[in-house]
Structure formats: structure tokens, C-alpha cells
Amino acid sequence: MLITIKYFGQLTEITHLEEEYLDFEGTQVSELLDTLYRKYNTLKTKDFQVAQNQELVDENTKLTGQEIALLPPFAGG
């Protein structure tokens, strides 16, 4: 399944891109995250939430979406 992964905020400083496409065969959001942690080794140390098809989900959710977004909190004001 071809998945679009979007990165927000300071996560783009780790990935050096805002969006990428990944051909992924796993079935859980958490499996996709494990793959991303292997690709970007400091990603795991960051706080973020996951949205699947524009809806925030728990990482133990079944992977159904074409779009996954990784969303960190922002402090600035």
C-alpha cells in the first residue's frame, strides 16, 4: 500500500522533508512508526501524535489510511 507521510514542525528537521511516500505492507500504525524510527533514529525521542486520513489516532490502530501525519506540539506564542 502506498502511504503518504507528512511531517510537521520540528520533525521536519529530523526527516529533512515535509512529505514522503512509502510502499508499506504492515497492518498497524505502530508498525509503520517502527519503520520510520529505523529510518530516522532520533524520531523516537520526539513527542508527536499520529493522524490517519486527517483524524488523530492511537498508534495501536489498524493501518487503513493513505495518509499519515506526524504532529508535534508547538509551544511558541
Binding site: 508535534p72 506540539p73 511558541g76 506564542g77
Partner: protein, 365 residues
Amino acid sequence: MSRYSRHIILSEIGQEGQDKISKSKVLVIGAGGLGCPVLQYLTAAGIGSIGIIDFDVVEKSNLQRQVLFGTSSLGQNKAIAAKKRLEDLNDSISIIAYAEKLTHQNAIQLFNEYDIIVDGSDNFETRYLVNDASIITNKPLVFGAIYKFEGQVSVFNYQNGPNYRCLFPHPPQKDAVPNCSEIGVLGVLPGIIGSMQANEVLKIILGIGNALSGKLLCYNALTNDTSILKISKSQDTINSVLKDKDNFHEKQLNTSCDIEVIEVSIKAVLSNKNIQFIDVREVHEQPKIDDLQVTYIPLNELESNINKIKKSKNVALFCQSGIRSKKAVSVLKNLNINNCFSIKEGASEIKNYIKEHYKTVYNDK
């Protein structure tokens, strides 16, 4: 024509809507990058009573984005300086300045005086305090936050909707997310995000359109990409805040660092010969300190460049102002590198000190 005629002629607002605006009370937390545009539009719109809470003073580096202030406001308390400017913008409303820090001790009583709370704060501790106090006092909270070129907007605790803890249950690990004063922000970005917050406030008061309740709007100023993500309500987070409400006023904002960061003056550093100097600024930042042998590792690349740190030396970290270098020390101490400290002075002061006192410092032999 009246001051509000352009509102009143809109069929969606009318005199009835304008009366609702005039009767409403809004509390704005922070008169900074977000607070300034929020306050400007709410004042112009004729919100009957506006509270501003901010303990900080206006600095020159604020003027690039905090548009209520000018050079004549430098050094003044932000809440008081904002009130002065806003009273000129609209003298028919009531503006109350609280020149103090929002704390667990004053939040509940203050929130009870207002109908809607707007979060324009710049740190997570205040954001979670504002969120929890909004739940306890049952006030809608219009949230906005920014990072470099990106912003987030949402409406929390509105009509039984989710709150900030439904999105991010706990504050991130301390120092994990830098703020504007440490990493910079495009000046117009808080203008856009703050204006969106003001818009949400007016929609809530007027009961028109769809408030961003249960949704997080993410905006990118560089690409103009806007995403709206759905947030589910977690009753557990609300219950746990409410369960603890009797102890709320006893909590303290923990502004000190968990890890002790040693700060040393450049004078003291230079009296020690076994030092590795590390510049944690971004590569483009000036001035460079040519008289020292410096290792360049920007703060956000520090963790992946630990191999460049010499374990046999004392590690002196510096940056533009001494803030990022303190964060860098925390990062290193978390990785068990303990022989490190932050130089109090920023790069310009360090350069000047060396120029005045030394010809060249040989530290790396």
C-alpha cells in the same frame, strides 16, 4: 455612522450580534506574538471587557512581530503597554491589565471573571495550566501556537468538545521543544494565527459558522498548506483534571530545569586550558569567534554528533544569547556527558571579551 456599522450591516451579525459582542468578556493569556493581533481585533470589534495577563516586559526583539508595541514601549510591562495602545484604538470598552504571571493560585478566580479564554502563551507549562483551569471553570478556550513557519489553532472545551489533553495528553519532556526566543519565528506568522484565534472568538460569541471545536487547524506559511485534523474527546482526561481540582491551587509552575545546568562566565572559562568550545548556533549565525578553536554543532544536531565531543576535555557550550547553550547542556547531561557547562555570555560578548583581553587563545593543543 457608528463605529460598528460594518458589522451591523452584515445580516449574520446585525445590531443583535454587535450587542452580544459588547456584552462579552474575554481573557487573553500573553500579550506577545499571538496576543497582540488577538487583542487588536477583539478591541476593534468592541468586546465589552478584555483582560490581558502578562508579566513580561517589551524588548526590542519583540517589535518584529508584537505589533501593539513601539520603541516608546520598550521596558514597559506588556499587559500595561498593550492596554495603553488598545484604549486609543477603542475608548468605549473596558480593558484590564494584569501585570503578573498566570499561576495555579490566580487562574481559577481570574477565569471565572470571563466568558472565553484565549491562549497566546509561549510555553507548555502555561498551556497545560490554561487548559486545566478552563476545564475546571468550564470556559471555552481558543488555542493558538506557533513554531518557525507553522501554526496550530483549535477551540477546546467548547460545547462538550475535546481539550488540549485529548490532543497531547501530557506536556512534552522538558526542553524537548524549543520556543520562538530560542529558534526564531517569521514575524507575520503569529499575525495570521492570532487573527484566526480572534475569528474563532467572534464566531463563538455570535454563534455563527463552525468553530474549530474537535479540530486542529495546521497552517504552513511557506507552502500555504492548511490541514484540519479531527480530535476525539477523551472523557478520561477531563475526569482526571476535574478529580484533582481541589488540589489545583496548590500546584506550582515548575519553571526551573530538572537538570542542573552550570553557567560560567567567559572570563572563568578562559582561565582553564583544557576546554573544547562548542558553538550550538545554526551555521549561518554571526559573529563567528575566529580567535577560538570552535566545534560547530547546531543544537538540534547535537544528539547525532556526540562523537565530536571530546570526553577528555571540559566542554564549554555557547550560542547567541546563552539560552540554547543551556538546553545543549541538558541534552548532553541526558546522554551522560557531565563535564559540560554553558557560557553565560552570547557570541558577540564572547568575541568582544577575547578581543579586549587576549590576542589568540590556544585551547586545543
